[in-house]
């Protein structure tokens, strides 16, 4: 049982690290500010989420796991709020997003 938990948590940690790095690459490579936000989104959801879940498996049934769960909850609720506030103030500041076609819908 022990090795199984270890393998699962190791997988979570490694995949999470992979996604974190990919998100960082996205923040660096994507062409303009609004697209870079999507890269940051990857690190915040999949990267942070999987790494914290991997740590939770290591923590077992203890207060440590509860704390990790709370950190995850806080990250998942605050990061979209901060992103939205950032994007909104960029938009109102006059930073135009680059799009392939204006007003695809509506």
């Amino acid at each position: 049982m022990e090795w199984f938990v270890n393998i699962v948590s190791g997988l979570c940690l490694v995949i999470g690290s992979l996604f974190a790095v990919i998100g960082g690459l996205g923040v660096l490579r994507l062409p303009d500010f609004y697209t870079r936000m999507h890269g940051a989104g990857i690190t915040d959801t999949m990267g942070a989420g999987l790494i914290l879940v991997g740590l939770m498996f290591q923590g077992g049934f203890s207060l440590v796991t509860v704390k990790l769960l709370m950190i995850l909850c806080v990250l998942l609720t605050t990061s979209p709020t901060a992103s939205h506030a950032l994007a909104k103030s960029a938009l109102h500041f006059g930073l135009e997003p680059r799009v392939v076609e204006k007003e695809a819908g509506s």
Binding site: V14, A20, L28, A40, A48, L55, G59, K67, L75, L86
Partner: protein
């Protein structure tokens, strides 16, 4: 595997740092700061497990809150503090 996670987090930190240095607009830099803050939280959590004493998770949570409040404060500031910004050139 903790080592992998720490290495990945530090690599992501350097990428965010690069973006903060290059970032043509103010908002790119704030975004990089936000990513950096999240990575610090993760680094603290993983470091706790790597050294075998996961007692500092309270600090990680406080950093997460601080990061959020910091970003919101900076944004409030960039909204109300009127500066003629030379950086908006894309």
């Amino acid at each position: 595997m903790f080592v992998t996670a720490v290495a990945a987090i530090i690599v992501t930190m350097s990428l965010a740092l690069l973006r903060a240095t290059l970032g043509p607009t103010v908002f790119d830099r704030i975004l990089a700061l936000n990513v950096f803050g999240t990575k610090t939280v993760l680094l603290i959590a993983v470091m706790g497990f790597l050294t075998g004493r996961p007692d500092f998770l309270d600090l990680a949570l406080l950093y997460a809150l601080l990061n959020f409040i910091g970003v919101i404060a900076v944004l409030r500031f960039s909204k109300y503090g009127h500066f003629a910004d030379p950086e908006l050139g894309r």
